[in-house]
Amino acid sequence: MAVTDRHLVTAIVVTHDGETWLPAVVAALASQTRPADQIIAVDTASNDSSTKLIKAARIPLIAADRDCGFGDAVALAVAKMPKHIEGNSEWIWLIHDDCAPTPTALEKLLEAIEDRPQVAMAGPKLLGWHDRTHILEAGISIAGNGARWTGLETDEYDQGQHDGVHDVLSVSTAGALIRRDIFEELGGFDSNLSLFRDDIDFGWRARVAGHGVIATTAAVAHHAQASASERRSVDVNGAFLHRPLLLDRRNAAYVLLANSSWWMIPWLSIQLLASAMARAIGYLLAKLPGYAADELLAVATLIIKPAEIVKARKLRKTQRLVSARVISSYIPPRWSQIRLSAARIAEVIRARVIPVPESSSPSVLNSLEEEDLLVPTQRFQISKLLKNPAIFGYLLLGIITLIQSRNRFGVLNGGALSASPSGARDLWGLYFESWHQVGMGSSHASPAWIAVVALASTLFLGKAPLLITVFFLAAPLLIMWSAHTFLRKLSKNQFITIPASFLYALSPVALASVNSGRLATLVALIIAPQIPMILSNWKQVETNNWRRIYALTILLAVLTSFTLITTLVSLGVIGFAIFNDYNEKLEKPLFLARLYKRLTLLIFPFILVAPYSFEALARPARFLAEPGLNLAGGSTALVLSGNPGGAGSLPWWALSPILLLLVIALFSSSNARSFAQIGISFLCAAVLFSSILITVHGNSAGTRTWVGTLLVGATLASVAAGVLILDRLRTVLIASNIHYRHILAGLLLIITALYSFSCVGWSVTAGADSPVQSNMKRVMPAFLTAEADTKTLVLREVGAESAKSIQYYISRGEDISLGEPDVAPGQVREIEIAAQELIDGSGISSSQVFSSYGIKYVFVKNPFSRNVIRTIDGLGGFARTSATSAGVVWRVTGVTGRIIFTAKDGTRSLLEAGEVGARTTVNGPGTITLTETFDRSWQILQNGYRLDRAKDEQSLPQFQVKEAGEISLLHDGTIRRGWLSLQLIAWTLVIILAAPAGRRKREISEKELA
């Protein structure tokens, strides 16, 4: 029932290829409880049957050009209307061809404006066209970055939570009721805004002209948002290449710049540009380059045409009645934007991690039994939780890990792990630097794992030691989780998969890796189960889409960054697969399809960790090395049992069932056989490699290769085979009489149980005193660290009590930190000989050699052989400077330091030296010797010219100075920077290729749209 006849309402329907929605729209107009007094339709040269439908509904139609914008179309209709009579309450009701108001919509809108004379614009609550419970808008605004702001969550369900009459900045033109006189007074919609954001602009202008804008949720309309969701092409003027996003972003920026206070414009411009760039990156990652271009073009088109903005601002200035600041309360505060964004991200993650299961049980409300409603449907019991094998398994492993790690609550080092630097910044520094102050200095490329650890440290506020401590504490749980995600695909029985995952997390290789600080093997233990998860069908690899291939490439690249043995394994596996494909005589397209995908998995990870991987081609031992110190692995026999050996590994008597399981599975008739074959192959490789001695990472002695990474493959295959066997065997054993299978299963279970008890027992007792511990004492005494960048030859007896050996290295005043062993250079032969002669007492010239290489001190760390100390005492050129409980220090006599200047008369003097580069002054012609390893990137500049560089007889870089003056020493890192840039591009490319592709709006199904 009409509330009043005081108002005259003219409905203006603008159509543009809207035949899909128009019948419903016309019907909705016709069924209004308070019908519009007049309906006018404007068609912008629709290509479909829109005009026919309008005419059939006997609605007067105005024809307009196809590139006529929405505002112009409305203006045409208003112009056709009878002239406005002063004092009349005349309204125009804007109806889109995809917007169907509910029957009471107009009545409720008029009710809302009845006692609000200041209102110039009122809008209904807009609900979805398809999902009519989905609230689209109840008033709109614009964020500082140009985003259309509704204040609603994505796909928000309308439960009346926003009901009421709200003062808003603006309402959508779909269903908006606008006072005709004010519409005309303000000049209608801005003709520069042919589509999108014209509503916000009008609302804004109405506001600053002193009028009110309200959204009344009692009035409802359903909106298909056909243009925004790209359900129809946008042909309006200015919509370049029919790109609605470009138009929308451009118009958003226009609205902000045209309406905001002048002093806000610089800040808004920055915000618009930054957010456009951020969104462009996001679209690029989602593989939507068109949208990315739209974002940037939108801002660019506006910036290159500032005249439009200037003109628009002038016009608005004439219409402005109140301060522009009046709208500030309608602009969403930044925190609410952040909150909403965070909530959206959290919801996406939640939906991925905890998908809402499709309910299989009927609702209690459906029950016919009334008493059932009185019975609680669920009751929480802790005992019930503990009966869940998953919870019990994780809890047990957590407790064991905590007990086992009792000496590891703090900054960790020891074993292969060196102490982490205090911040991620140092790690980044190590990664980016072209020169490393380790030993005699090196220009080796830093391995990519340093960047991975540095990146991960940012999650811990840049505290790398905290990351390492937490990682070593959480590693067993992560390993178990990763294994379980894989194993539960093999068996649904949690009573098999959980214990199997538990044993994988407590496997000999896992325990040894945690105890001896093997980062790469731990990462391999976590990542390995995910590889078969991503790549489901290796034989028919072409069935995996490219996105999966690139996702696996990333995973393999991360693993390769930690250990290049991954490349060797990939080479073996992929080479074998290509050979098989070739033997199968596949059709060429299929063969090539497989070949490309297989080669991608081999080559890309190797490229992504370049240049470290390329350098490894010249230093093949790196292919077998792990991050950190080069510690020896175990004997071949131990490796055969699945135990990598070495410091911190399980003792031989804790024999794991890995080999037995693999052998049994090898003769199985189930899929377990395939796993056994894989496992045996890994075991063969591990056994063979374990016999190789490698010299790498600053260790000149040949050290038995640690084959932990290869044993990860064998262990995982063994566990997977065991799960398959047990899953199948259980039913067979129940159904059959006792025969050899029962005995075999019993034997296997007994051995597994024995292993479990022995390994848990060992790890919580003796195993807790592992090489990796927290808060260990420093090697270098504090007084030697006081002199910046001073080289000290450190002698120390290291190793187990029974097999101690004398070892030495050059320290730069500090203990080594994480990553430095990986870039440590080998020893200079002359220093090797001098150190040897220092020990055996024949080194009359040792001090001279040390001095020429810039070694200023010799430090013997206690405990040490007294005889050797006496021998050094007896040698010339070493002046004892201190003897403390930490050890004995001698100063190498003679002038030595990092940069030595030898004048023409042979006088040697020290020049001021920075950490890597230096800026200092020389007093005359002579020779500058830099006591660092020779590298072509060392340069000294004087008066803008490079000094001649040569190798001296010690192979140190030497520069000829021809005159007195200031000099600048630098290590040119251009090549390193070039590599890093290429690496960044390669990673970005692969991440984009692996990332899930975004969909254009037109590709989103109707059902998914509201």
């Binding site: 060196s418 005492d873 010339g876």
Partner: protein
């Protein structure tokens, strides 16, 4: 065949294991370099004459003061030294030095490598003393040496001495504990390549009372064997030359007892009063004993519940003048070579069961072998024209010392390896040393 593939995999595994086992070299990360450190002979002090016995003319030496690494060959098997201390690259054959003061005394000692610590039980600091403690730094760096002296009265304060590189100093024994008679000195090098020697020379006014080298012993122990003590038998109608004096010290803080057992060709016995005799800690004690034995040399074994150091001073008469000999304890005998050119020592072996194979290399290049067997004590006279003797093998628990007589005097030289093969580990370069 149903199990062909599994068996192939198993075979591959076994083959891998066998190949790996075969490839695995016995990797001993520790390499060693073996060398004989250069030995140092004491300098020739004023008024003395010295001669060094060397086994080969090609043996290289350099004077202590020489700072270069250049060495010279001896070109002789017995080399007279006028003044300097010599550093000799003896290559496993320990040279002997024989020093004498004409008509007064003679004595000898081994030229030896640097030592960690040395005990000298002998010498006196009273008015008769003309003895010297010689400290030699053969290293290229300065050295610091602590000297701890003990006397019959008390433990003396430690005296620290700085020694310049390639240099030696001589300290008068009477400066260590002025006025005290019985000295025992421990020399502890704190840094540097240090050797120490002690000469005990005594005189009363213009009358020389004799002298001898006091040989060193590395550390105090609960059982000591002094293998060669001269027992000069009186000629017909003459009186015995005198009693032997045991000088003994327990350097610890606890008083102790000791038992002295004489090992001689006449049997093994404990002299009267030498069983469970108590001594005070930190104080040098002296006891005289005069065993009635017919042999010209005997040995003693001293046992104690606490670590002790000891030596025996024996009076001898030679060429109608009196001399004394300091016989000191020696470590157990090990295979070694000693250059003896120009000397013809009597070597006494002491032990429960003696079975020693010795070889003498003569000046003419020939080799003479001998097998010395016995119990308690056995002696062997080195041929007069021998240039070196080699202990080829020895039974366990055998100790040896040499007694040498010359016209100027009588001396005791412990048979110890002055130039033992030193096995030094070749260090590896490993950045691991910089990780705690």
């Amino acid at each position: 065949m149903k199990f062909k593939k599994p068996l192939l995999f198993l075979a591959a595994l076994v083959a891998s294991f066998l190949v790996a086992s075969a490839l695995t070299t016995v990797s001993n990360p520790n390499n060693y370099s073996e060398s004989y450190p250069a030995v140092v002979c004491p300098p020739t002090l004023n008024g003395l004459t010295s001669q060094i016995s060397i086994s080969s003319r090609k043996t290289q030496y350099q004077r202590l003061e020489n700072r270069s690494s250049k060495t010279l060959p001896f070109k002789a098997l017995r080399f007279p030294v006028s003044k300097d201390s010599l550093v000799i690259s003896a290559q496993g054959t320990t040279p002997l030095i024989w020093q004498s003061r004409t008509g007064s005394w003679a004595g000898g000692t081994m030229c030896s490598g640097p030592s960690a610590a040395a005990w000298f039980v002998g010498g006196t600091a009273n008015v008769t003393s003309r003895g010297r403690l010689i400290l030699i730094n053969s290293g290229l760096s300065d050295a610091i040496v602590d000297i701890q002296s003990y006397t019959e009265n008390a433990k003396q304060p430690i005296k620290s001495v700085n020694l310049k590189s390639k240099n030696y100093i001589q300290l008068s024994l009477d400066s260590l504990a002025p006025g005290d008679k019985a000295l025992a000195v421990q020399v502890i090098p704190r840094s540097g390549r240090v050797n120490a020697f002690m000469i005990d020379e005594q005189g009363a006014g213009l009358k020389a009372l004799g002298g001898d080298f006091v040989n060193s012993y590395p550390n105090a122990s609960k059982e000591l064997v002094i293998p060669a003590i001269p027992n000069q038998l009186p000629k017909k109608g003459e009186k015995a030359s005198g009693a032997h004096t045991l000088r003994i010290l327990t350097p610890g803080d606890v008083n102790t007892t000791f038992t002295l057992e004489v090992l001689s060709a006449d049997g093994k016995f404990i002299p009267v009063g030498m069983s469970s005799r108590s001594i005070d800690a930190g104080v040098v004690s002296e006891f005289s004993f005069e065993p009635k034995i017919s042999a010209s040399a005997f040995a003693v074994r001293i046992t104690s519940p606490e670590p002790i150091v000891a030596s025996v001073s024996s009076s001898v008469t030679i060429s109608r003048h009196k001399d004394f000999v300091w016989s000191t304890a020696t470590p157990p005998l090990t295979p070694m070579s000693v250059a003896v050119t120009g000397l013809s020592p009597l070597i006494a072996f002491a032990g429960e069961s003696i079975a020693v194979k010795v070889q003498a290399k003569l000046v003419n290049g020939k080799t003479v072998s001998a097998s010395v067997k016995g119990s308690d004590i056995a002696t062997w006279r080195v041929p007069a024209n021998a240039r070196s003797i080699t202990i080829v093998s020895s039974s366990k628990g055998v100790f040896a010392g040499a007694l040498i007589a010359s016209t100027n005097g009588y001396g005791f030289i412990p048979i110890v390896n002055g130039s033992a093969l030193t096995r030094v580990e070749v260090p590896n370069s490993n950045i691991r040393v910089l990780n705690p």
